[in-house]
């Protein structure tokens, strides 16, 4: 995971609350077996509307989403975070996030920054007054700056530390690889292994056929 200290990019004001994960990425896209390439799926139902904000030239290349409360509610699909990241978003700013979405973002290196709703309104106004305007998000200072407006945000200390160190959960765990290896050294001999495979004798399985 890349280290995240500050990020500067175009802000996208999405004036909607309760954007659930079905709206972020509809269920039909969950059948894919890849982990990347979900950019086309992001907000798929809304992208058909030419007035939708991401269809407007000035916001197209946005990287900071500023949205209404209760973002990411609904199903726990991690695809919602993948879709936002694949599209190019680095930060989502809202006054409230669904817990699971926030947890998933932290794991995948997408910053979910919690900002007071009154400050969200300020950011929305600034971004709408000057479409394509850039925001600077400092994880170090926990601030979002847009022109002469600076507001602060909240983020879990542990998640912040991890993002700043550029450590995904796996990277972090692998820092303790020695502990894992040491633990493995103490495991009882009776604990089963899947390899080499042991089974009962191989037997032919008759294929069932449709009746009628």
């Amino acid at each position: 995971m890349e280290k995240f200290t500050t990020h500067t990019g175009a802000g996208v004001p999405l004036r909607r609350s309760n954007v659930d994960t079905d709206q972020i990425i509809p269920a039909v896209y969950l059948k894919r077996v890849t982990r990347t390439g979900f950019e086309d799926a992001l907000f798929a139902a809304w992208r058909g509307d030419e007035n939708f904000i991401l269809n407007q030239e000035a916001y197209k290349n946005g990287t900071v989403l500023v949205t209404g409360p209760d973002f990411g509610t609904g199903s726990s699909r991690e695809h919602a975070v993948w879709a936002l990241k694949d599209y190019g978003f680095k930060v989502v700013i809202a006054s409230r996030f669904a817990d699971i979405f926030r947890g998933n973002s932290g794991k995948q290196g997408l910053l979910a920054a919690v900002v007071e709703q009154s400050d969200i309104e300020l950011l929305w106004k600034a971004l709408e007054a000057e479409p394509g305007k850039e925001l600077t998000v400092s994880l170090e200072d926990r601030t979002v700056t847009c022109g002469d407006i600076t507001v602060s945000f909240e983020v879990d200390d542990y998640v912040r530390w991890r993002l700043m160190e550029g450590l995904d959960d796996i990277g972090l765990t692998l820092k303790h690889e020695e502990d894992i290896t040491a633990f493995e050294g103490t495991r009882d001999a009776w604990r089963p292994k899947t390899l080499p495979a042991k089974t009962e004798p191989k037997e032919h399985i008759e294929a069932a056929r449709p009746v009628n």
């Binding site: 692998l174 894992i180 633990f183």
Partner: protein, 477 residues
């Protein structure tokens, strides 16, 4: 002060205690994979250039998507075929043992693990599937995980976790004739609610649990997740040891003795305290069925469809109203009079050999209700073979049932085995959510005994209902 079984399992797998708000790092003894929740995890490994740390503690099988007919032909559904091909490629690339469709050890992942002797007491078991709680029946800490966590376990054989709370579920007394493990767990869920177990590991205790067979214990633990719990547990005893002994991966010789020595210590201490305790009297139980669209909406079979107006809690009243509308039911209707279109016997809840035996015993010598379809899907290919060796397949086929190949099948309707809109099923599976068994399908969760009796009468029934107007022709029931 003593510790609970769950706490002992946690402590014995602690690789590292979390500091400064970081979670604990827990070692995973067995990781099981299937085609639906693993593809992105393997892709994640590939993107990061990582390997599977312990292929020898990992196993995969094909179950969620697989057809239960014509398994020797290419899978017709393209998405399913892609997911299965992806699993096959990943297993090959990362050196993981895979039991594919057509292999005698293929089947629902939670049936396959125990049957191979890979699930044992004292382990930590995970799988990208919520019903991993099944394996808790052995006194193992077993729980479902998400795709990121699947990747994490593949890469590190550990998981960062915050400790769970503990809840004791005491089931005292003796189960009455005609009731089963399924009725215990449906009654537990109806009692504590679908959210009642949230954040907890449930430990099932008491005489009624002690006297259950290993397979029946799996049925109980399987549905812990339907009460919102992360895991269910039953302390191992002679029944457990007996079940594990002699299975392909069971320890042998001195290893066996060492294992049993260890397993005997896997009990909650007398003076340990649980965060919460719940008690049920087994003797009060009757065959249980669900009437609504979540597993907590259940009642004894002898009851009537409830009237939402009688429910005090506003949210639950609304949920009941919606459920009745979806299920096409009227308050006051006796549950016993509901016509059933399809009976599904199978899944990781009730697709094991004992379940098939129990159902076969009831239908033997009887005839199927003419308008009811009876789908029998063994939980694994081995269960199918075993049933065939005992002649159960003939009993089912003579009765008019469809005898299928192993897989998840109609439990979740990801393959062609689905209900049609407004079709009503009596299903031995674990979820009666809207659309779970097919768009618009209406599911009543039942035990294998109720499933079999229902297939005879065509309406929701218990074996006791068969005795009055008995149409026994052959062997005794």
């Amino acid at each position: 002060m003593g510790t609970t079984l769950a706490e002992k399992l946690w402590a014995s797998h602690l690789v590292r205690q979390g500091e400064d708000g970081a979670p604990d790092l827990i070692y995973i003894d067995l990781h099981m994979c299937h085609e639906v929740t693993s593809p992105q995890a393997f892709e994640g490994l590939r993107l990061a250039g990582r390997q599977v740390r312990r292929p020898d503690l990992t196993i995969a099988t094909e179950d969620h998507n697989t057809p239960t007919l014509d398994i020797d032909k290419p899978i017709a559904d393209l998405t399913s075929r892609t997911q299965i091909d992806t699993l096959r490629n990943n297993a090959k690339e990362f050196g993981i043992r895979l039991h594919s469709l057509g292999d005698a050890d293929q089947g629902v992942v939670h049936v396959v693990g125990p049957q191979l002797g890979l699930t044992m007491p004292g382990m930590t078991v995970v799988c990208g599937d919520s019903h991993t709680s099944t394996h808790g029946a052995f006194g193992a800490l077993a729980f479902g995980i998400g795709t990121s966590e699947v990747e994490h376990v593949l890469a590190t054989q550990t998981l960062p976790l915050k400790p769970f709370k503990t809840m004791a579920i005491n089931v005292n007394g003796e189960l009455p004739e005609g009731t089963t493990a399924k009725d215990i767990i449906l009654a537990v869920i109806a009692k504590i609610g679908t959210g009642g177990g949230q954040g907890y590991v449930l430990e099932y205790r008491g005489e009624a649990i002690k006297s259950l067979s290993m397979e029946a214990r799996m049925t109980v633990c399987n549905m812990s997740i339907e009460a919102g719990a992360r895991a269910g547990l039953i302390a191992p005893d002679e029944t457990t040891f007996e079940y594990v002994k002699g299975r392909p991966h069971a320890p042998e010789g001195a290893d066996w003795d060492a294992a049993v020595e260890n397993w005997k210590g896997l009990v909650t201490d007398e003076d340990a305290t649980f965060d919460t305790e719940v008690t049920l009297e087994a003797s009060d139980l009757e065959p249980f069925v669900t009437w609504g669209t979540n597993p907590g909406q259940g009642l004894p079979l002898s009851a009537n469809v409830p009237n939402p107006e009688d429910i005090a809690d506003a949210d639950q009243r609304e949920a009941a109203e919606n459920a009745l509308k979806y299920m096409g039911l009227t308050p006051g209707q006796p549950l016993r009079t509901l016509d059933i279109d399809t009976v599904f016997l199978g899944s990781c809840t009730n697709g094991r050999i004992e379940d098939l035996r129990a159902a076969a015993e009831i239908i033997q010598g009887r005839t199927k209700a003419p308008n009811t379809r009876f789908l029998v899907v063994p939980g694994s290919a081995r269960v199918r073979l075993q049933a065939e060796a005992e002649g159960l397949d003939k009993v089912f086929i003579d009765f008019g049932a469809e005898w299928r190949n192993a897989g998840c099948s109609m439990c979740l309707g990801m393959n062609p085995d689905q209900l049609k809109p407004e079709e009503r099923s009596a299903s031995t599976s674990n979820r009666n959510f809207e659309g779970r068994q097919g768009k618009g399908g209406r599911t009543h969760l039942v035990s294998p005994l109720v499933a079999a009796a229902t297939a005879v009468r065509g309406t929701l029934s218990s074996p006791a209902d068969l005795e009055d107007a008995d149409v026994l022709v052959g062997a005794s029931a």
